[in-house]
Symmetry: C2
Subunit: 205 residues, 2 copies
DNA sequence: ATTTTGTTTAACCAGATGGTCAAAATTAGA
DNA sequence: TCTAATTTTGACCATCTGGTTAAACAAAAT
């Protein structure tokens, strides 16, 4: 078969590039380092992807997709809002625990090249309208406090993402650089963030 | 006077370096660009600061100091906790509105060189003990919900910082890239974040 | 005025880096 | 098996980048 080897090499490159780009960012990453990580010749990188920029864009798109957990299910599930939010937070933090490097990488690159970010987002076709409608209905029904739904979403994201994005700093000043303790803290966040949010927005009858 | 000219140039360099480093990060910044920004010869950078690394460290320390707003006052003021937290959030968001680039820069660099970060922090002598004691007392007194004070602090920071750190992304997906609207949103956050937090942790008698 | 000290510059250098290319090696097809 | 196409490599190149240096320039000191 023609594709077995090809796919294999291409995949090796993508894996290696993801590792290096995420660790060092576009500016800090070196093509040679990616080649080493993939165990191949540097020229092969240019054979499969024309340039560093092109390779990076492939990686960024690939990585970026991961940061949108199953939003559809979140919106349309027939369960109470507090359960919905709980599941959303849990899924999100689970994702970040498996990919703790994601936030810093994304945050770094969205600042470095916002135009490219815009093109990627447009290509994703995210529809927030449904999400906002759903939240609006919950507010109308008196289930949660009335507020700008964008505010609510950004709060959820901030509470979930920030501890990962700022990990080295938070671990250092609040946990005496105790890696295990911080990991445990992040794990518990699935519960504590959910509680924190619900405590704030739930209207107890 | 000997120092007039010297201080002037050194300051010009520091200003220029801060601008460029914050915009591009350590890896993305170029010495030539800093020199241009300062309107001087590139060799002068090395005359005043031995190397790029040394210059960067000077900038990082300088910038890093700014991210700790007056915590002492926050701890010891003789006002109710809800007012304290409100003031803290307001001060923090004010700081970020004046320096919207700060979060992304810090987040980027704490990942790039955590050891250096550690050395800077040790040199700052931050005492969180007092802060935690104060929060503990408020919990004991039944003024706020009992919780890990580190959790509370990280929540406050996340809610305040995240919208700035993720600005290009949030502005794009939630505000249709409307710069003014997002700025207005950030301004209102001084109130909404405070409300969000207090709603969550305040125990109404 | 002249020396001395400190400041600034243009020219240059060595190493790194992204990228190219022709040849070698491997694979597929006849 | 022999040929054609594809994949992989080592060597190489142009450019960029941090850093150096010797000389020009300015300012103090004598």
């Amino acid at each position: 078969m023609n594709n077995i080897k090809k796919d294999n090499t291409e995949e090796k490159i993508l894996d290696a590039a993801q590792t290096v780009f995420i660790r060092k960012g576009m500016d800090g990453a070196r093509m040679q380092e990616i080649a080493n990580e993939a165990g191949i010749n540097k020229a092969l990188l240019h054979y499969y992807f024309r340039s560093k920029q092109k390779l990076f864009e492939a990686i960024f798109k690939q990585v970026f997709k991961q940061i949108f957990p199953d939003i559809k299910a979140f919106i349309h599930a027939e369960i109470p809002i507090e359960k919905k939010l709980g599941i959303f937070v849990e899924k999100y933090i689970d994702l970040l625990m498996k990919n703790p490097y994601l936030p810093s990488f994304i945050l770094q690159e969205i600042h470095r090249d916002p135009e490219f970010l815009a093109s990627v987002i447009k290509g994703q076709g995210i529809d927030l309208h449904e999400l906002f409608t759903m939240l609006g209905k919950e507010m109308e029904a008196g289930n949660i406090r009335k507020m700008d739904p964008r505010e609510l979403m950004i709060n959820i994201l901030g509470l979930s993402i920030f501890p990962f994005a700022a990990k080295p700093l938070m671990q250092l000043i609040f946990f005496d650089n105790d890696k295990k303790a911080y990991k445990e803290f992040l794990k518990q966040r699935k519960e504590t963030v959910k509680d924190f949010i619900l405590n704030s927005i739930l209207l107890k009858a």
